[in-house]
């Protein structure tokens, strides 16, 4: 099948939006970029033929999640301090690139066997073949709702003082804890031989 320029555009736009969402310094901007990425993805899914999932992805990803994030950012504050990461950048880049390269090498000789077309409707597949999945989703949603209700309840939990606010970050933890490790087990010299003076009777 010849390559459509629309698809190339969509791929580039999707990857760009995702990259910006991760790299943006302000949280609000990042949320907006995430919404844009959702929109690009939903368009692409539509071109692939998955019409229903495209709509769901648009409404959930670009709608629900973006609104939630904006809401939470509003509660938590922008927190725009640009701190450098804990993991060194070269390590992160190295791991990511090697993982992607290996994955591509694993997948790429794309040979597939042709499969005959099965004429079914989405509703029949969803509600009959994947009925167990639907049950699972219901349980997940239920559990999620209860979890959120429990998390956001108004119990009075005393706040823990976070003592790291103005610390200058270092990657390796301090050595104080390591040196203070208590040795609660008897030293090996307790195993030497001594004739037992008294014995348990």
């Amino acid at each position: 099948m010849p390559l459509d320029s629309v698809e190339i555009l969509l791929v580039t736009a999707l990857l760009l939006c995702a990259l910006q969402a991760v790299r943006a310094t302000r949280l609000l901007t990042a949320a907006i970029w995430l919404g844009a990425a959702s929109a690009m993805l939903s368009l692409w899914l539509y071109t692939l033929g998955a019409h229903i999932i495209a709509v769901i992805e648009l409404s959930v990803g670009a709608g629900l999640v973006t609104v939630l994030m904006v809401f939470v950012i509003g509660i938590c504050g922008p927190d725009a301090r640009g701190k450098h990461g804990l993991v060194p950048t070269w390590l992160a880049w190295g791991l990511v690139i090697s993982a992607s390269a290996l994955l591509a090498a694993l997948v790429l000789p794309l040979t597939g066997t042709p499969v005959p077309f099965i004429q079914t409707s989405f509703a029949s597949v969803l509600w009959e073949q994947r009925a167990l999945d639907i049950l699972l989703q219901m349980i997940l949603i239920f559990a999620g709702v209860i979890g959120v209700l429990g998390l956001l309840s108004d119990r009075n939990i005393p706040p823990v003082i976070a003592a790291f606010h103005d610390q200058e970050e270092s990657v390796v933890p301090t050595t104080v804890e390591v040196a203070n490790a208590p040795s609660s087990v008897e030293s090996p010299r307790a195993w030497t031989e001594t004739p037992e003076g008294k014995v348990r009777v």
Binding site: L3, L15, L103, L152, A162, H165
Partner: protein, 103 residues
């Protein structure tokens, strides 16, 4: 090598996965971590739908992708609620504040 749409899809999935994992490795803010998880979820959805389209069973791919979207959304919701609680409890959204399991 001529580029087929399948190559584009593989590139998209691997690229999105790489961006999501990079975000998880480098970002310190809890909300940024939720965003990175969302991007990983998008990679999964794309892969599933593309597999379905490629094997002429688009509806099966859509059904499974639906489960993934629902689960992903619930993870995001609970993650955000956790972030709110962390903010109340520790005073900031930094990952360093949650390192009480150190050592």
């Amino acid at each position: 090598m001529n580029l087929t749409p399948m190559h584009l899809i593989v590139g998209g999935v691997v690229g999105l996965g790489a961006i999501g994992v990079y975000g998880l490795l480098v970002m310190r803010n809890l909300l940024k971590l939720v965003i990175a998880l969302q991007i990983l979820g998008k990679a999964a959805v794309l892969a599933l739908v593309a597999a379905g389209a490629n094997s002429q069973q688009i509806n099966l791919g859509q059904s499974i992708a639906l489960t993934v979207i629902v689960a992903d959304t619930i993870v995001a919701v609970i993650g955000l609620a956790l972030a709110v609680q962390v903010q109340r409890h520790f005073g900031a959204l930094d990952v360093r504040a949650l390192a009480t399991l150190k050592g």
